[in-house]
């Protein structure tokens, strides 16, 4: 255990029930959810508020599942973003080949096949981030922005965090929401397992001449999948995977050269395309924490599991952690239990770790199957897509999976209070 050796200070500057380290989307949503259920919460964010509140237009978007939207509704955040959210009405999965655009064999899932309405919504980062910040402002969360944790120590009572400013915080529980590299997990001695896919995701937003009609596309190209996700207006968010060397070459091109690479992969079904916003690239590395909990500590979001963004599941999985942990801790608090006890935390780990590992491995397998130009595999997956398409039961299951409605759903994601 790489814990801070110094004894806990006699009088910490701040006492709180729960200290959340990391002010990204998951950390902020968790602070909000816990505060709504009566927990005293302190949120520690390395970035200053101005940076979080105004990320500028960069074209990044999230495909929020129905379950995630329900959580945001329960937290009162949804009304702040609903006007700027694009409903996903159809999902088309298609086995395409580079240079040939979409092949005629494809699967289509329509939201009309399930009762819950649109299968999800696309919400841009620049919309969601400020909405969450606005919501925690009125929820009684103690928000320490521009602060970094430099040391953490745990004892039988709780944990003590020391900040770069010199302030100390005593909490009954600390939560690491500080991303894939999670210094919080590392300081607690939690090791990670991972896999480098040798692939990099290229992310951008495009404007197009023709309307997308709320359709999300998943094209399985030989080098990796390409997702076209509808944004409001005639705009779409693109997530496009290539081998790392190829991605580096494309990322280095100017905008015109980049578009020349994108056009043949994208096809012409939406007319002419233009870049809208910044371009990003993210190496695809699966990283799973070997435990989601340690003494007086729990991990959420990418700190627990960084997954392949093949279906935009990263944020949805993180929000599922948020809803499950809020439920576990709220039940513990109501019964007078110690919220940071080993038994309380074991309940969270049991709930989330299996679910997440299954999904991560599942997405990994799908990606391997589809990122391959082997003609035998190609025939097999065409037949497979056809079989899924022909069976209504399988189709509905696939849609409900994509909508985040399967598995042991936390109450806040089932439209119920805790």
């Amino acid at each position: 255990m790489d814990q801070h050796p110094n004894p806990a200070p006699a009088s910490p500057d701040i006492r709180t029930d729960i200290a959340i380290v990391g002010g990204g989307l998951n950390g902020t949503a968790l602070a909000l959810a816990l505060a709504r259920y009566g927990h005293a919460v302190t949120l520690i964010d390395a970035l200053p508020v101005e940076t979080r509140a105004d990320p500028g237009f960069d074209g990044r978007g999230y495909a929020l599942s129905i379950a995630s939207v329900r959580l945001l509704q329960a937290l009162g955040v949804w009304p702040l973003v609903a006007d700027q959210a694009q409903p996903i009405l159809k999902i088309r999965a298609c086995d395409g080949r580079a240079g040939q655009g979409a092949s005629p064999l494809y699967l289509e899932f329509d939201h009309a096949e399930i009762e819950e309405g649109p299968m999800g919504h696309m919400v841009e980062d620049r919309v969601l981030r400020p909405a969450l910040l606005t919501a925690i402002g009125g929820a009684g969360v103690r928000h320490l922005a521009g602060e970094t944790v430099v040391a953490q120590a745990v004892d039988d009572l709780g944990a003590v965090l020391e900040l770069a400013s010199g302030a100390t915080i005593r909490a009954r529980l600390i939560i690491g929401a500080d991303g894939r590299a999670s210094p919080t997990a590392r300081r607690a001695g939690i090791t990670r397992n991972g896999r480098d896919y040798g692939q990099t995701a290229l992310v951008c937003a495009v404007e197009h001449d023709l309307p997308h009609e709320g359709t999300a596309w998943q094209l399985f190209l030989p080098h990796g999948p390409l997702a076209i996700l509808p944004l409001t207006g005639n705009r779409s968010s693109i997530v496009w995977s290539e081998t790392t060397a190829e991605a580096a070459r494309i990322a280095a091109l100017d905008d015109a050269g980049y578009l020349e690479e994108l056009r043949p992969r994208f096809g012409d079904f939406l007319g002419e395309i233009r870049l809208a916003g910044a371009r990003f690239s993210y190496p695809l590395i699966l990283t799973l924490a070997n435990s989601f909990i340690a003494k007086r500590l729990a991990l959420v979001g990418d700190a627990a599991h960084g997954v392949h963004p093949i279906a935009g599941q990263g944020l949805n999985l993180g929000l599922r952690d948020v809803a499950a942990l809020t439920e576990v801790l709220t039940h513990a608090r109501r019964r007078g239990d110690d919220i940071g006890s080993a038994i309380t935390l074991a309940g969270y780990q049991r709930w989330r770790r299996f679910d997440t590992t299954t999904l991560a491995l599942g997405m990994d397998a799908v990606n391997r199957l589809f990122s391959n130009d082997n003609p035998v595999l190609r025939l097999g997956r065409d037949l497979g897509l056809g079989a899924v398409g022909a069976l209504p039961g399988l189709r509905r299951r696939f849609i409900r999976e994509a909508a985040g409605l399967t598995g042991d759903l936390p109450r806040l994601m089932a439209g119920q209070p805790i």
Binding site: H331, R334, G336
Partner: protein, 246 residues
Amino acid sequence: MTDTTIDPAEVAKFEAMAAEWWDPEGKFKPLHMLNPCRLDYITGQIAAEFGRDLDAAAPFAGLRVLDIGCGGGLLSEPMARLGADVVGADAAPRNIPVAQVHAQAQGLAIDYRHTTAEDLAASGAQFDVVLNMEVVEHVSDPQGFLTACQRLLRPGGLMICSTLNRNSKSFVVAILGAEWVMRWLPRGTHDWRKFITPDELYALIRAAGLVPVDRKGFVFNPAGWSWSISARDLSVNYVTASVKPG
């Protein structure tokens, strides 16, 4: 201690186990596993009886709670955390310092006493809530014990009492399973002949002057390795809620 219903042989058995109270993986693991379920029931009944909101800051503020057979404080501490004014009573003297040291470290003020329900009742002490959890099957005179509990309650007060049912299933589960196969509890922890059926307990509670208002089962689910509350299955562990008229 005078006029006690505690069987001296039973006290000695628990004394030997006292230091292990707070180890969730130790000898009291089954109690730690059952505890969330017991607390869900207790807190729900208290909140309903006294009109308290469990999401409030200190929902049990102003309530005086007695935890009989408090052991290491597994129930006393949660009650104190919810704002109640708690007295923890145990007939085993060694449990008291163990519970005191732990509560102090948790920053909880709990009045732990080496005493019995009968002695407390004789002193005239009064409570809004009496917790009487997994005790009645260990006393030599259940009727005398439950009458003492009734005397300890203010009119309108609430007693929660849990115990083990007496039937062939509870013999297999609680004695053979928990003590002999799983070794969850030291052999001899329970004497199956002292177990009480729900109907017998209701009769004892009524004879003590209390009105039973609810009973539920605590059911172990081996697949999920956890306990849950059941409205129907009272076959092994069960719990009752009773009020003192007034």
